[in-house]
Symmetry: C2
Subunit: 228 residues, 2 copies
């Protein structure tokens, strides 16, 4: 298994697929950077605006890491990201936060889904890419700040929790829908993720990855006290 | 002179004034971070959007540096920044770029003015603050990228140069107007900057600082090829 993986990492189809994965991850973080920056303006205080800005900057540091790895593969990072612009912008236009609280839940939930997904996929990638993805999915402190702020907010406003619980489910649904569009549109990516021929990932493995992500999402909503 | 400066650094009026200076600088960079982030969406390509985003992140790194120094003085950084929110937001609302090029000139010119101003002021501050301001005013690569992009743009569109030259003058005018409002509103700051009793700065020194900044601004506009 290890030997067959080793050789599969040299195939052009592997390179195409890993460039897609890194490009999607990088564009996702770049678009998150812009949105979190924008959402910071809705924060109730300058202190919270700074915290949100700090989270945005962490998203950008991931873009930098992933771009460096894309350059290793001889690809201009913005070229690798371009194909993923439409689905991510679609996701963001469908999940535009209507207030500070929805923005905060989106940062926490969106960051969590992305981290779970890429960490699981990375187990099947070449060692150097795995290392880069591990660094880009390290806990960036989103959790502590968001959980504390949202728990405070829902304790002060009893109607907020129900609304944010619905919002969390909608975010997860839209994320899954856009992920499906991406895979359907990108042939080598679909092949890598489901055929079992490239890096030991097949449809059964993908199903289990999505089951894990859904489970982690439920745990995150519980951490926010939004498991209604 | 050195001995009298040393003792003046211990006076409460010095602390009040230096906290104002650091707070103004930090809020200016924080607001620049948000605006550059926003302006990045107008960039003609994903590559340029990434470059602009990188510049935004550099602005935020300065907020972090200055906040740490504010904490040394026992002040919550967001409290020190709050008084400067109104004048900076006013500046930004009066100088909202109508397109990518105006945004780019604003980043380059605004960053240059801020760097010149705080670097000059820092010569009169305590050694540790001087060091922090030096780090926060180091060249962050704004120049190289902006100059190259604007020179390319004006070479392709002969009407662009004249429009951007006017825009550059307007930016400088609005920056000076808001700076004057700030000084008029903040008594200890005005005292520090003009009375000569605190750190050797008096009205003559301030006049010379503003003359230098204006001169540097002219040189920057020349570097952009916008010295019409």
């Amino acid at each position: 298994m290890a030997a067959s993986q080793q050789s599969s990492f040299d195939q052009p189809i592997y390179t195409d697929a890993v460039v897609d994965i890194l490009g999607a991850f990088a564009y996702g973080e770049l678009s998150a950077f812009w949105r979190v920056c924008e959402d910071a303006s809705m924060a109730p205080s300058l202190w919270d605006q700074m915290e949100m800005s700090r989270l945005a900057v962490v998203e950008f540091s991931k873009v930098t890491l992933l771009s460096e790895r894309l350059s290793d593969f001889g690809v201009e990072p913005s070229d690798a990201m371009a194909p993923f612009r439409a689905p991510f912008e679609k996701f963001h236009s469908l999940t535009k936060p209507s207030d500070w609280w929805e923005g905060l839940v989106k940062v926490y939930v969106g960051d969590g889904i992305a981290r779970d997904f890429y960490r699981e996929i990375a187990n099947h990638l070449d060692p150097k890419t795995r290392e880069v993805v591990a660094a880009a999915t390290a806990d960036a402190g989103h959790a502590a700040y968001a959980v504390q702020a949202i728990r405070l907010g829902t304790s002060l406003d009893p109607t907020l929790g129900g609304r944010l619980a619905l919002w969390g489910r909608r975010l997860m649904g839209e994320a899954l829908a856009q992920a499906q569009h991406v895979v359907a549109d990108r042939e080598t990516l679909a092949d890598l993720l489901t055929s079992g021929t490239i890096v030991g990932l097949d449809l059964a493995a993908m199903t289990s990855i999505f089951a894990n992500i859904t489970e982690q999402h439920v745990l995150r909503m519980q951490a926010l006290g939004l498991d209604h």
